[in-house]
Symmetry: C2
Subunit: 265 residues, 2 copies
């Protein structure tokens, strides 16, 4: 990618596009709890809609905000990336402050804002995505982190979960971990990283790939959890992967524990 970011005052002129608009790249953080997901839907408020309304409130332009990852209902983000084209001349720092002002009642914040030069597209220019899944593993329910983690009572062996996870790393047909509604053309993906570590009562799972199938991370986590509490062996994970059948995989882990943490360009 030869995309260049310019954040100074010269940014607006440099980024001025043929259509007379400037493309801004936004890094977005949100608590997915109250939303139907990233994407606009009929049945409730989406993060995309909130951002588009904040753009309208700021520059009085009806614009589409494109996100790198269309996170599901309840899924959080610390490093979602989006872009939006705006006609009005506005400095990135002012745009960010104004968007955050208008977003205020919602748990959504723009943490970075820059002018994107060239053909930058939040979704199609992305060459990598990273997710974090957080499990709180203890007898007592998670209360301060309620809605932000998956609470699992059965003691989990993070080391054996990590070993089993390595079976999934690489280029595979991930049909076993693919939601039935998934719109991807092919079930074949390359998983670059799937690390499971324990930090005290918390188990953290980091997944990295160019892109993921719908529910892939949550389905992999739900399967690794079966390994963690001893119900499944690593061989069972291999057999599930080889079956290329969603029915062969473990259950889908809840949305609460999932965070889109980074998009790579």
């Amino acid at each position: 990618m030869n995309e260049v970011e310019i954040t100074g005052p010269e940014a607006i002129a440099a980024g001025r596009r043929a259509a007379g608009t400037t493309r801004f790249r936004l890094t977005v953080e949100y608590d997915g709890g109250p939303f139907v997901g990233w994407q606009r839907q009929e049945n409730g408020c989406s993060i995309q809609q909130c951002l588009e309304e904040a753009v309208f409130a700021t520059v009085q332009e009806t614009r589409t905000v494109y996100g790198a990852g269309r996170t599901d209902a309840g899924v959080h983000a610390t490093g979602q990336v989006a872009h939006v084209d705006i006609e009005k001349a506005i400095a990135p720092a002012r745009l960010m402050a104004a968007l955050n002002f208008h977003l205020k009642p919602n748990p959504i914040a723009v943490t970075q804002c820059a002018v994107a030069v060239g053909d930058f597209h939040a979704r199609f220019s992305a060459i990598g995505r990273a997710y974090l899944y957080r499990i709180v593993n203890r007898r007592a329910p998670a209360v301060i982190e309620r809605g932000h983690v998956w609470w699992v009572v059965a003691p989990l062996d993070a080391a054996s979960m990590h070993r089993a996870a390595q079976i999934l790393v690489g280029r595979h047909d991930f049909s076993t971990f693919r939601a039935s509604l998934c719109q991807a053309q092919s079930p074949i993906k390359t998983l670059d990283r799937l690390d499971v570590t324990r930090e005290g009562e918390e188990i953290r799972i980091v997944a990295e790939a160019r892109s993921f199938l719908h529910h892939q991370v949550r389905n992999m986590v739900g399967t690794l959890r079966l390994v963690g509490d001893g119900k499944w062996s690593p061989d069972d994970v291999r057999a599930a992967l080889d079956a290329r059948d969603r029915a062969a995989g473990g259950p889908t882990a809840p949305a609460d524990g999932l965070y889109l943490t980074r998009v790579v360009y």
Copy 2:
């Protein structure tokens, strides 16, 4: 303290007290956001009241739950310690599970439960308390951690905050950092530790002492913040301490960022 904990089935007999009750020691975690504070009050729901109602629902006994620290409205805890005397014979693990079941709608959880032997008293036996204060220091508002941190926009120099904090460590008259409603007999306290560190966008302040005055941690944090953004020098902190006058100190930091993390016996 010669208090001994027994968690096995023999615990109930060993801990049986003169009054025919068993004293249980509870470690309690809570999100202070929706509560008027630890202590029972007329004007809303307290953590103490929720615990006492859960005790009643579990063993049908009207009991007082005593806490080590009477945290204010909005202040959180990951390691509050409490005790309660119960007549009915019940194993600690069963008591903990039942309390958590009845506490469920509230963001309160009992994370440890053991029989306390001897004269253990959650408040009066405590010889140390530790608090954590969390500041998110960035342009964008904190959204995932909303209510759980203090959001400060002005860039803070954690190193100079730490240096100024060392002026407060030791035995002093802390009148400058004492709430007007504080009921302590003396304003003289010994502060054992006040460490300020930065981890990325977050500034973490750890305070340890045998006990604290009312609002002492929040008043110290509000003062250190003035050092962090360059408005005050360390000498100003020394002058404020020497003034022994609340009006000489910085503002009170919000409750949101404060956590009672540990009680030492």
